[in-house]
């Protein structure tokens, strides 16, 4: 056995690996991925209806499936994992081990991120295979998929971090509701700013503006230069690297903030 400090990465990785293992042994997850793959495959049939635009259709529908099913998976695994550990009391034996509570949350979150990554990669491979089957797609088009998929993944990381925060103090049903609520508001965040600029009341304007900055801005991940990223990918339009860097910084910072909140809540908890 080494020094306590030097084992921190080992413990976090052990918790992350166990979280991932729990996810991949859950059958509901397979159903969701299967459904997403069916959606992606069905785009072949729809592509037939839009002559000459088959690959556009496949990318459009495929990326939308990744986004929608990815979000469902992110919420589903995010809301239940920490709650389940408390509900089933597996956390009692775990926290009596030399494990800091923050290590538990960080390990859980990393496990969630890895689960999401594997899911997104599987769905992306599904899109690529569908495009290959269709034929006639240029290599450059495949390359254009990557930034879109990356941004979708970032938004999933943020969604699951939100779910994680709620799951440290609330039941899965309520956590799902809260997460979904914030996810929806987060997509219409820009309207809040517009409202703040339009309103005559200074107080209301201030509140709306504060909310705009405080709430997660999901439209950042779907819209670049007022163009939808999925549409951009489908039309093989280039995405600005600087913008991606900025969004990455935003996403990472927001996720770190949420994980910190989850740690703060979890560290104060009494396990009755």
């Amino acid at each position: 056995m080494g020094h306590l400090g030097s084992d921190v990465p080992m413990r976090i990785l052990a918790i992350a690996r166990n979280t991932f293992r729990e996810n991949i042994r859950d059958k509901i997850l397979y159903n969701l991925i299967l459904f997403a793959l069916i959606m992606i495959l069905s785009s072949i049939a729809l592509g037939q209806l839009t002559l000459g635009l088959e690959s556009k259709m496949i990318i459009d529908l495929g990326l939308t499936s990744v986004s929608v099913f990815g979000t469902l998976i992110a919420i589903f695994i995010g809301i239940s994992l920490v709650y389940k550990e408390m509900e089933k009391r597996t956390v009692y034996a775990l926290l009596a081990k030399p494990v800091h509570r923050w290590e538990f949350i960080v390990g859980k979150y990393l496990g969630l991120l890895f689960t999401l990554l594997v899911n997104v990669v599987i769905m992306a491979i599904g899109i690529a295979l569908t495009l290959l089957y269709q034929g006639g797609t240029e290599t450059a088009t495949f390359a254009r998929l990557l930034p879109a998929i990356y941004l979708i993944y970032l938004s999933l990381a943020l969604t699951t971090a939100l779910a994680l925060v709620f799951s440290t103090f609330s039941t899965p049903a309520l956590s799902a509701l809260f997460t979904l609520f914030l996810w929806i508001i987060g997509h219409f965040n820009a309207d809040l700013l517009q409202f703040a600029n339009l309103t005559k009341s200074a107080t209301v304007g201030w509140v709306a503006k504060s909310l705009y900055y405080a709430l997660p801005n999901f439209s950042n991940f779907t819209t670049l230069d007022s163009r939808n990223i999925i549409q951009s990918a489908a039309h093989a339009q280039a995405i600005d690297a600087g913008a991606i860097l900025w969004i990455t910084a935003y996403g990472l910072l927001y996720c770190c903030g949420l994980v910190t909140v989850a740690i703060a809540v979890f560290s104060r908890r009494d396990f009755k």
């Binding site: 030097s6 413990r11 990785l13 052990a14 166990n18 009692y92 034996a93 009596a96 081990k97 030399p98």
Partner: protein, 315 residues
């Protein structure tokens, strides 16, 4: 040196819709557990046993008071490398196999391969789960879960082991197995702190016990000290007693029963003992034994604690 040192530990839970009504689950508990002891923590359900253990494991924060394990405050994470814990009615990740669970726990203790693989194998042998090491825990019986629970509690060769109701819900065979593990831990010099309400196990295992009632410490000490506080009566066993003498003896004692050809007499007065013996021996009866009757832990429990049943609500 005390291995576990509990000082004036108090825990209030807030109940009610607004969480504004405090209920005292633990009231000013002070306790020392010494090195190498098997220490029994007794009390009826709701007495505060699990609350105490959860505070010791830092799963709950005490309202006031303090506790130290191995000279370190209970919040110390590094101290937890030297202790083991089995929760009450343990439940582990049911999608894991025993081998996977123990490997996971081993990683949390910073144990690396190949030492970990060897350790896991020997532990599975020790708790008798080697043959089912690849079966998912969801298929385990309660006794098997308890055994894997003990294995995960001792994987780090702890100096102190905390077991919360380790025998509850087990069949006699399972209880004996747990008893044997506790005995072998004691042989290795491990301090064992366990809570229980199964008294024969406690009587068989513990050097010292503490009895808790409604969150308060009722008694603490060696089992003999607590139980020998009062000798209730003496039991005299005679044989070859003539029927006439038996009738006479009946009037001299509190209770008399004939079992086979043996006469069992019970009296609470030591003067009566002498009279009975004199009478019996003068009439050619044969004396088999005279024994002081001490209350068993069970009697003590019923007498001292019985009324504490409606104590603090279980947390």
């Amino acid at each position: 040196m005390a291995i576990i040192e509990i000082r004036n530990l108090t825990k209030d839970f807030r109940v009610g819709f607004w969480k504004n009504r405090p209920v005292r689950a633990l009231d000013d508990l002070s306790l020392d557990v010494h090195k190498g002891d098997v220490f029994g923590f007794l009390g009826p359900n709701g007495a505060g046993k699990t609350t105490t253990l959860k505070i010791l494991m830092s799963l709950l924060r005490a309202t006031s008071g303090s506790a130290q394990i191995l000279g370190e405050p209970v919040e110390s994470v590094s101290m937890r490398r030297r202790i083991g814990f089995l929760p009450e009615n343990p439940y582990f990740y049911d999608y894991l196999t025993p081998r996977e669970l123990l490997t996971y726990v081993g990683h949390l203790f910073g144990i690396r391969q190949p030492a970990l693989g060897k350790k896991v194998r020997s532990l599975l042998e020790r708790v008798g789960l080697a043959e089912v090491s690849r079966l998912q825990l969801r298929k385990f019986s309660k006794g098997m879960v308890q055994r894997i629970g003990i294995a995960q509690a001792i994987i780090n060769d702890p100096e102190v082991v905390f077991l919360d109701e380790p025998m509850s819900g087990l069949d006699p065979l399972g209880r004996r197995e747990v008893r044997e593990v506790i005995m072998s831990l004691k042989d290795q010099g491990v301090t064992v702190f366990f809570s229980s309400h199964i008294l024969p196990d406690v009587e068989a295992l513990c050097d010292r016990v503490a009895i808790l009632r409604k969150g308060r410490l009722q008694a603490v000490g060696a089992l003999e000290e607590i139980l020998s506080m009062k000798i209730e009566a003496h039991e005299i066993i005679l044989t070859r007693v003539k029927p006439d003498d038996a009738d006479q003896l009946r009037s001299m004692c509190d209770a008399l029963t004939m079992i086979g050809d043996r006469l069992h007499l019970r009296t609470s007065s030591s003067q009566q003992v002498q009279l009975i013996l004199a009478h019996a021996l003068a009439n050619d009866a044969e004396l088999i034994s005279v024994n002081p009757v001490r209350p068993s832990l069970e009697d003590y429990f019923l007498h001292e604690v019985g009324s504490g049943r409606d104590g603090a609500p279980r947390q």
